[in-house]
Symmetry: C2
Subunit: 333 residues, 2 copies
């Protein structure tokens, strides 16, 4: 087996974020569940946009953010996701290419617009997402380039891919190709309501060995096992997955592997400006570390360094070099 050309191939919904500050009252008035992702149609997207505050736009999407994080750490990342031939599609493609992420998924030409997510950031820094999938939901099995899958140490997939009808086939094809090439497959659970929609399938992917490395946050993991107890969920997880990293907000992360469970503290931050991308950037550090052969506990620590940068400002991707931050934190990269 050749050494991998990419530390990770990230596959997910290619989304431009529309980020705006909002008060908690606004979430209540709009019937939104704080801290989660809502799928919306075009009409709802327009009415919500009319109601919300001024915004900034930034390329996002969970797996896309993770790919950008790996690149910022000095790693090699590829991304597969679908954008349209429109302004936001141009923005998305630029932002990937500019940071050195390999991205050449064919654009959608049907006239459906590039996906956008209206992200409402409350004063506590929590983000509540409202996603119009648009072109992203046309990602299909034909978009999975088997050569890239075979050249990536890890193929990383969003749970969100279960929402668009064609993408789960793309997901399955990518996983099979990765394993056939002797590579690893990773899944993030993405969102507690996403888990609620696809619980049986996600557990199936873990138990049948499709998923080698699982990412979740505490609410997603508790949703997966339908329990209010994080400890109970972690115990169940240990039986279902050989390697997992569970983020627990300000408490850092918990690594679950054959050695048991280990806790990693969060990297301290002065101010939590915006949690958008925190989990995605944690995943970038963990995946990069694992791909480069770090012990999982060190990879998790690298994940917390990456996450700490992105929550200090509005926007889902790093504003400064994560490689520099990691070196400052003592990593020999």
């Amino acid at each position: 087996m050749n050494p991998p050309k990419f530390d990770a191939l990230c596959i997910g919904n290619a989304i431009v974020d529309v980020l705006s500050r909002a008060e908690d009252d606004f979430l209540v008035a709009e019937g939104l569940h704080k801290g989660t992702m809502h799928l919306i149609d075009n009409d709802r997207a327009e009415s919500l946009y009319d109601a919300m505050g001024p915004a900034i736009e930034a390329s996002g999407g969970s797996a896309g953010n993770t790919a950008a994080g790996i690149a910022s750490l000095g790693g090699k990342a590829a991304f597969i996701g679908k954008v349209a031939e429109d302004t936001f599609g141009d923005v998305y493609a630029h932002d990937m290419r500019a940071i050195g992420v390999h991205f050449n998924t064919p654009r959608l030409l049907s006239g459906t617009a590039t996906a956008r997510s209206m992200i409402l950031i409350t004063p506590d820094g929590e983000r509540t997402m409202n996603t119009y999938l648009g072109a992203a939901q046309e990602l299909g099995p034909g978009d999975i380039d088997p050569d890239i899958v075979g050249e990536a140490a890890v193929t990383y997939l969003e749970g969100y891919l279960w929402d668009p009808p064609l993408a789960k086939e793309a997901f399955r094809r990518a996983a099979a190709t990765a394993h056939a090439a002797g590579r690893r497959v990773s899944l993030t659970l993405s969102d507690p309501f996403c888990v609620d929609r696809f619980r049986t399938e996600f557990l199936g992917l873990m138990r049948d060995g499709t998923v080698d490395i699982l990412f979740a946050n505490d609410s997603e993991l508790r949703s997966l096992y339908e329990t209010a107890s994080l400890d109970a969920a972690l115990a169940a997880l240990a039986a279902d997955c050989r390697l997992a990293a569970v983020t627990v907000g300000a408490d850092g992360a918990i690594v679950v592997d054959s050695d048991g469970m280990s806790r990693v503290a969060a990297t301290p931050v002065e101010t939590v400006a915006d949690l958008t991308g925190a989990g995605d950037l944690f995943a970038s550090g963990f995946l990069f570390g694992v791909a480069r052969g770090m012990p999982p506990i060190d990879a998790a620590r690298l994940g917390t360094v990456a996450a700490s940068e992105v929550i200090g400002h509005i926007g889902p991707r790093p504003e400064v070099s994560l490689l520099d931050l990691a070196r400052d934190a003592g990593f020999s990269l």
Copy 2:
């Protein structure tokens, strides 16, 4: 004369900013003058976009930022500027409406795109702008709604409006209408190279009484009077204009009026992340203060509070309520 409905009407180029971090070497390689604005055509816009790093997009434009700042201070602002019927035009219109700025300039339907400015932010926080004017340069005299001009305490105009061929006529019409209604007219010099292009005309506007309130930063003012000495430029300014506010970076601002010159310290900031919008937000505080009858020195202090917010993060407009910040700083608003 009725009390004004608007604290200020801001007229300028309606521009979406494309903000990206860059090293000083990149500016040198691209032949850019740090800290200034370069006008570029569509081909140059494409090649520079290809060469630059990942970016975020945010509504900007000097006068537009000032209008947004006034709204964030709890004031009433109107804006006149030209965008196209395209994605960035929608973004621009949304961001104005969402913050409560009156904005109903007819969109351009010719197919020319909404203006964008690629803003390169160097590690020192300085911004270097590269502006494709697009639809903005179609702003013309017919876009000036005389009713709004008459209802604004101050009509504020960008020096940048001298670049598009039709806009200077719009500028002159707005100024005449404002004075006929017993209102005041303000001009910002915008950029040292802009001053270099239109020095004679700007001095004429000051000396013939078209401009009641002048804004400049130190390099613009020195460019206006073609001197390396700020003191010499300030002395010349005092003879040419009855009220002026000159920003001097970390040293704060200097108010020039019939009482002489007064210095105001800058509001301290922890980190200068991005100077984009600093001058525009200073102007928002100063204009709002003057419109509400504050002594100019207090208005300048309000300007430094507004400027201090916007330089703490990437992006040209406030992320939090300037009214709250001003109250925290002791203003009774």
